[in-house]
Amino acid sequence: MPQPTIDSGDTAWLLVSAALVLLMTPGLAFFYGGLVRSKNVLSTIMHSFIIMGVASLVWVLWGYSLAFGPDKGGFIGDLSWFGMRLVGAEPNADYAATVPHQAYMLFQMMFAIITPALITGAFAERAKFSTFLVFTVLWMTLVYAPVAHWVWAKDGWLGTLGGLGAYDFAGGTVVHINSGVAALAAALLFGRRLGYGKEPMEPHNIPFVVLGAGLLWFGWFGFNAGSALAAGGAASNAFLQTNTAAAAGAVAWTLASWAVIGKPSVVGAASGAVAGLVAITPAAGFVGAWEATDGYLNILPAIVIGAVAGVLCFGATRLRSRLGFDDALDVWAVHGMGGTWGAIATGIFATAAVTSLAGFQGGVGGLIDGRPEQLLAQFAGVAATWGYSFTVTFLVLKALDLVMGLRVSEEEEVVGVDVAQHGERAYVLEEVGVAAAAYAVRPAPAAQPAPRPQLAQGESQAASTSP
């Protein structure tokens, strides 16, 4: 392990990466906000935005200490880092030897923010705001912190720092399976939206969906390439895998929707990019070389991981629609299933050459490197996360249902959660409908400069106010 001294380039990279991951949460707010109906867009955006507040506070108070603090039996950390005690400017060589400990903690914070925000897609358009806030605090404490500890903390029972050796480079298990499976539990307990399956629940603003997907793609470079914790070859490789899988996912879902439903869907392209990004997350630092480092197929694993994710998550969305449970924004289908595929794919495609570049465990590959046993570690990670996340999320929500109630009243749901829970409405746009068809267009005037256009000739629209 290198002598812990701060490297300014690595620190710059990690701080930028933390900022990029933070931006993913507003990105998610728009991705999700565009998918709901206009009467619920504020409530949906608010879920993500207020989590930036709540989860940040939980993290700096007790969350980081529970997740990464001194180990208790491989399962969880203790509270000795409560309130940022002992988290200072010096590097913590257990986690990142060339950056301040605070920078590592900040980078991790951003993951702890977006994970509960991902879950909110399951109960969009019907959740009670107060219950949602309590749920977020409980879930971070009881689900996120332990699972992060298992996988990433020193001596966590599942990960590579003294555990089973399950690979999760940037959060396929901790972030995506974890949130996707919690979303499944939430969708079952919240029940369907009023009118589900009968009334149309069409996305109200698809440009917002694409804006969100664009910001997510951008921020994901911090998520995955930042997870190299240093600015060098490992980060560059992770960046390359990330972008390639996103590209393959976007193209694959688009083509799949074209083949199956007859048109290449824009929401599908955005969703496919996210699916590809989800699936590459655990793998980004471990895959890259199919056969040899000079092979013509070096880039194939990332393409396969992304393309399969695009098709698989599209199929899972359709399956969810047919099973009839109302995971409103398909968190399970995209993050749960995409994350599961990514975890398994990491066990298949990891190669020793890339893995050692990432500095993890000195270079152990997966199935294609002749180590099928890595798949076992991956399955263990998947199974443990599915089981734990589903069970604890279910129990927490069940309890909250009894104590506070999960959903808004039917009346509030009809009116819309924005007005009902927040007293605000998203848009006050003036009527501009027919006007667009009521124009006469003229080409640009020729030589002489046009006279300054007036509001009107002779008379004005607003004469009433200037008597």
């Binding site: 006007a435 124009y439 080409p443 509001l455 629209q461």
Partner: protein
């Protein structure tokens, strides 16, 4: 019964609404329309210098169904509140209504207003 249809300036809507309410005429409907009359429109300008000339302007159409004997009073109330004296003030039309029903109770005729 008569339906009073008044096409007025959007910025006068509040005044008209208040005048009607003050005289006891609470029930009404409003809808956005785009109207063409003597009044000229606004010019928007495109990036390449194209001008988009609106020959129609946003107006608001107010609909109040009233008893025959109230019709003239309502017309006057609206006209007073909506008038600026400039082109574009709008029009009021009176349209005969054969019957009415209050959906909640099933009451018919003038009792439904």
């Amino acid at each position: 019964m008569q339906k009073v249809e008044a096409i007025i300036r959007p910025e006068k809507l509040n005044d008209v609404k208040n005048a009607l309410a003050a005289a006891g005429f609470v029930g009404l409907n409003v809808v956005n329309v785009t109207g063409r009359g003597v009044q000229k429109g606004v010019v928007h300008i495109g990036r390449g210098g194209e001008t988009y000339e609106v020959d129609m302007l946003p107006k608001v159409k107010l609909e109040v169904v009233v008893r025959d004997e109230d019709a003239e009073k309502v017309v006057q109330l609206i006209a007073q509140a909506a008038r600026t004296g400039h082109i574009g003030d709008g029009k009021i039309f009176l349209i005969p209504v054969a019957d009415a029903m209050r959906v909640r109770t099933g009451e018919r005729g003038e009792a439904a207003l």
